[in-house]
Symmetry: D2
Subunit: 357 residues, 4 copies
């Protein structure tokens, strides 16, 4: 992680969208069961050490790479850029920032061509690529759909110790903030930033970082998400459900958070809104608004605030953590020192479990 | 409440279904806002003290009566019987049991004719009637449907101190048990009993009773239930959501529990299964199975176990409570003295909130 | 078929519900592909000549029997009765009517015990049984659910040449009419009759009979039905979709009609309403009301009116047809000699395809 | 319409998305009933001659303008551009093409600032603007949602006599083709072109043009679309349903076509796929593939092919039509001279209504 984040003079690459995540899992067979048999992702390709998975509407090679390794972690947050030249731009941009970069003309993983990976100023392993093998877009293959069909990779979510610092860097990289959570003192607890015209391609969540908070896949409808819960119940795997299902305040999407066999957090997500206009209104939520994270006021479980996945540097070693020095969202909203309201100004406490902590 | 429950020689009335509940509310306007403007029940008739409400597929006068009064309580659990003669049978049946009964040829409430009300052996104000005014069945009136349209009264749920004692009485009255929750020592924590061909017309939940645990309305689909949560969020009334939405283990239905302005609990419910065959298999759940009450393993909030509505005797006075002398479901499943498992035999604890209590 | 239908003095059997249909198919493998691989019914048991299938919420052995034979036909419409004695009652009842009956203490098919089959007064092969093997109710097995999961057998539909004649017989057998279609001259075109508390266990549709019009399975939600269409499209089997999906006027249910590889018609159906009260209001539709068969006014395809399956006598021979002598619904509603209106009194013609025939 | 379409040297404006349509209606009250009371669009502003309507997730002033006038027609297809300068670019671009343009610094309609309107080379009244009043994005206002809630303007659809000619112009304007319909002789029957990352912002449909084929609004889920049909049935307005609901082959979206009181065609649409990558694979459909327009093979009604709305020039006069000189899609697919197949190579005819024409 860089102490101060430079402002490069080089142009930023033109990023299209979050495209795939590469994660390290400790038991490939067990992870395959989870992502393929339970969640229904499609195997594009696989061998003894690596599985390449995609969602039903994807036409590039994969949205998720499972690679076997000794320690569960995230090896890459990968973005697709608009052209081959944008890979050059990405390389130059990060080099100017003083970040470590590594360029591989044949790609770091199967199915992806010329790529650059960087250790970004926040300490995350970011990748940028344009070249990708095309595969069948399975959108019309309803014979392959499951009740919980995952149709698209939607976004990443990253934990970083100082959100405004991270946002500034992301904005210079070309991202736009769509929503955030603040308090009256101006502390920013989280921010959502996008390139494609949804609420986000990634979000920055305040906490000890760099860590990966979650990766999210989209379904078409809400019942698809409910059916994933039903199936996990039937398989006696309901303890993989960490939080939800519910309606987010932020993003207005319907959500569910799962934990994979290594504890990596997966969100299933549907129905946020179009954000593609340059003057798209930013929505700022009060951290004490009890509907910001769950529109129905259902409590956020502590693990959702505290747990996140290790990220790797370009040598495959875990990145050290920087401790958040600002208040934590959990501390200011639940428990003895925090508070949340349903209606601004409310004094009384409700009967919900979250309020009893 | 009767100390011992006699076994009458008189024939039991032929009960069709749970038909309506009469509840006392302390602020009629506020309750009207909740049931009509928020939940979208249809007003069949109303005056300064009473509102008669029905669901969209109902053809009798009402499914819920709101009556203003000084103390929030339940005045009647009302069942429809197959014929006028079954009202006579009900009266004779309860008289033989030594229960107090009151017969009114013109009915206790508008829209309902010849009825008998009884203080039943468990202390509940039960009503039986056949005659009812017919009103328009609004099933085809999609111009009146809201996103959370309630189409049918589904069931009652009653708190009683000794479930097997209550079940025996209900079975003699002609009800059949479809599901129950027990432990290895044979303690019964709850039982679901039905007349119509669904999982229940009422359920007996173990606790200090007699109290009314909830009354449930059905929707057609799961998204209807989700939309009620969304609307409560939009109205900044999310603290009316007590538990859920979720999937029940018991009944396999999708559910949501709300609290009305007086704290009366309302369930919204959809998609249980046909139970009309005499050999319909009873499902018995282990009280320690963490998926029995929520198939997804989401925690039951404490208030759901502890809170319930006062019920009235035939003079309108609150019925005294009999304390449950067997273990409480909450005590044996959560906290220091209890445990729940996702898979029978599991030792490890999960990360869910319920496990942290 | 009997010329006149006697009124037996013997008591009618107490029928619970339509339980299964036995159909003859000409290519068992091809039918298995359709019912198991495409529609997702569960195989309880199978051998070289017969496949026993059930829906996800069923606990008796099967809801559909596919038996290989030289000519596509229906061998039995089977109803479950309340008790073993009701099988005796059924036998006596039909014998008194002068109908041919056959009793088999071990059942006619695997999984079903003591049964009586009859050639009923309308010429249909009806079966009545109580004893049935119990199998796992798969309601909670969400790991087995497909996007178009069929959860329950809902109803049969039979073509008979004179509907009022058939209705009279069914009413004496204990069925109740819930809805019908008539014209101003009192011609009855179809009637829906029920034992269980839904709109029907079977319906009588006017036409040359006896023939089987369709057998219907229920899903939980409307999207389940849409997903079956999507899957048929993906498999390039969309020509198996005969009519719909759409919303019925009659029954208010959401529907889809398919044709199996032999042309047997299958309906997929969801969300009609509770009909269990004895004074449940009958709904009579005007045959010229263009929303009676499709609430959205979408045209009924001619084949839906004209095609139906042969039914067999107890020797397995096709029943001869009696020609309908009253007007056909198709003739009076479409084409040069018929008319349909969206609003009673409408003169103008709309732009829909059905109106252009 | 221009005889030949020049290729301007000036840069094309950077178009964000289709933003609103201005239509002329002959009875403003009747149209208001349709768009507001039936479809539930939100009135941003209105006066005696004009109503400004928006969808629930929109933050600019309107997505649809209803203006009273003597003849039903379309006055503007309006696109939002990325910046104020792009309005200048649009003006210069069309001027260089020799098109008539009109610039109004205060906008042509309330709520929209500096705009240019042009008579484009295909004869359509196109508008480009950046400045727009912001209004409340009602996405979170679930208290305002109806069962058929329209959340977004999705696309336009235009009839033009020569599709490849039109496509070439649109591509130079910066649009990208996502899907099209062709035959083996290379005749192009329709093409879908996009700026935002959906399947289209507009489509070109072959026929006598310029005419407006339809304007489409998006819902979140499929049941929302079904509920619009149900409501139209309840209001006895089912003859406003022209085609569908169904699943498109092209775009993979779920659809419904309505006709407003003047005959303007409105599509309700949900769930196409992300198209934002520059190498997004184009899908080309065979015009004889019976699943191209309806994935379920349900017939396209003739009116859908033949009817469309008049478009106006900048003086408000109807644009004259240019007759299509290539085969019509209806002629080559239905009736004596056309054919459609479910499976490529099929010979047999199915039983569907469309095949009987």
């Amino acid at each position: 992680m860089l102490e101060t984040i430079p402002h490069p003079s080089a142009p930023a690459p033109d990023i299209l969208r979050c495209a795939y995540m590469e994660i390290v899992v400790t038991d490939l067979k067990r992870s395959r069961d989870f992502y393929v048999d339970v969640l229904g992702l499609t195997v594009t390709e696989e061998d003894d050490t690596t599985i390449y998975l995609r969602s039903l509407e994807e036409f590039i090679h994969h949205n998720l790479v499972l690679r076997t390794g000794p320690v569960a972690a995230v090896a890459a947050f990968s973005y697709r850029v608009r052209s081959p030249e944008d890979v050059d731009r990405a390389e130059a941009y990060y080099r100017e920032m003083g970040c470590r970069t590594e360029r591989r003309r044949d790609g770091f993983v199967t199915g992806i061509g010329d790529s650059v990976r960087v250790e970004d100023p926040l300490g995350f392993p970011y990748e940028f690529f344009y070249e990708a093998d095309h595969v069948e877009r399975l959108a019309w293959r309803y014979d392959l759909y499951t009740p919980g069909a995952l149709v698209r990779l939607d976004h990443f979510n990253q934990v970083t110790h100082n959100v405004p610092r991270g946002v500034k860097y992301m904005e210079e990289l070309g991202f736009r903030v769509t929503e955030d959570i603040q308090d009256d003192d101006g502390v920013v607890y989280a921010a959502w930033v996008r390139r494609k015209s949804t609420v986000h391609d990634t979000a920055l969540t305040g906490g000890d970082g760099p860590r990966m908070h979650h990766v999210a896949f989209a379904t078409h409808e809400k019942h698809n998400i409910l059916s994933i819960c039903d199936k996990l119940g039937a398989l006696r795997m309901s303890d993989h459900i960490e939080r939800g299902p519910g309606r987010h305040g932020v993003s207005n999407a319907f959500y569910l958070y799962l934990r994979d066999p290594d504890g990596h957090r997966i969100e299933i997500y549907t129905q946020d809104y179009y954000t593609g206009d340059p003057d798209n209104p930013r929505v700022t939520w009060d951290v004490h608004d009890n509907q910001r994270r769950d529109w129905w006021g259902n409590p956020v479980v502590p693990s959702w605030y505290t747990d996140a996945s290790t990220v790797l540097d370009l040598d495959g070693n875990p990145q050290p953590l920087v401790v958040r020095d600002e208040p934590s969202e959990m501390a200011v909203t639940v428990g003895a020192d925090g508070f949340s309201y349903t209606r601004k100004g409310d004094e009384e406490k409700g009967f919900k479990l979250g309020n009893t902590l």
